[in-house]
Symmetry: C2
Subunit: 199 residues, 2 copies
């Protein structure tokens, strides 16, 4: 069974590998994300994940499993995307400091005409950050390509006091939920991993 | 300033590196853990972290910063250690299935005669697991060297539905808390990381 990840994100690729999936192709889904901007976050991520999956499914061979995801950070109802420059990163991190926000990841799996679209939300609480800490964090270069201007798996771990929900959802892929969806489609990640180990 | 990690755990080493600490030594702390077994988990992990740190501090050069940690898994007041064999791993994972348990990590930092001992607790909720899933997970080889018979950073990610608290605490080191303790001692992880990037 061919598996296609409809995402260029190196973090999603790494997580799919960590789930025990070894043979998959990465196909970029080029969609215009702007038209959905006014939707609430849980609808936005589902809609974008669905559109990414559909765009890739159109050109995919029959029987392939397509996996797509989209992640946004939401603070008090405002969606934070990737920062455009260092000043924007500074403003985003200043608003996240000492506060709790939400990370939404929409997930869409298409297989043999069957479509499953779901989302997962994780609460993330930042500790209080000083101005110099925010400037140092931006200087590490980590914030610029990430929604909300931080990466929980990097130096961002030093900023996050606690989370409530799936950690991997914050990284961009709800691993536990995706595992159960794949299991329903007949892709058993644990059995695959065990099989490789037994060989 | 010399930094010594009083732990052989490859996961703690990886996390210290991820915090931006590059130059540190690993020194094994050989202590007999059995005499503390009757303590409640939050006292147990603090006591063991303190004893590990003290054992290493005795032989360390003056002015060195010693970091030690100890992690246990607790379900309904029962402490789960590392499984002795596959059957024990099966029993542990069966009791964790569909339930919420606690992961306690005690942290001790010794510097110039000053001792800081703290602990962090994270709630972890497993999804319902079938017998075959548990057998497959054990067959991956992942459970055997880990408290509670799972690793959240590996295939164990497929078992964990949600957590409440610090994710890295479940891996064995409360990164955010350690970062603030080190900051108080004058070791600024973010400034170190930023400095390397600016070079």
């Amino acid at each position: 069974m061919e598996i296609i990840l409809a995402s260029q994100s190196p973090r999603r690729r790494e997580l799919l590998e960590r789930m025990g999936i070894r043979n998959f192709r990465v196909v970029s889904a080029d969609i215009d994300e702007r038209e959905e901007e006014q939707l609430p976050p849980e609808q936005l991520v589902c809609r974008l994940a669905l559109r990414k999956a559909e765009a890739v499914a159109e050109k995919a061979p029959k029987g392939a499993v397509i996996i797509a995801a989209d992640t946004v950070v939401s603070l008090d109802g405002t969606v934070l995307g990737k920062p455009g420059d260092k000043l924007e990163a500074f403003k985003m991190l200043s608003t996240l400091s000492g506060n709790r926000h939400q990370v939404y990841t929409g997930l869409c799996v298409i297989w043999d005409g069957d479509k499953r679209t779901e989302y997962e939300v994780t609460d993330v609480t930042f500790r209080e950050l000083g101005e110099k800490e925010i400037e140092d964090y931006i200087a590490t270069g980590e914030p610029m390509d990430k929604a909300g201007a931080y990466g929980i798996q990097g130096y961002g771990a030093l900023l996050v006091e606690r989370i409530e929900g799936d950690y991997y959802n914050v990284m961009g892929l709800p691993v536990c939920r995706l595992g159960t969806v794949l299991l329903e489609l007949g892709v058993d990640c644990l059995a695959l991993a065990a099989g490789r180990e037994r060989e």
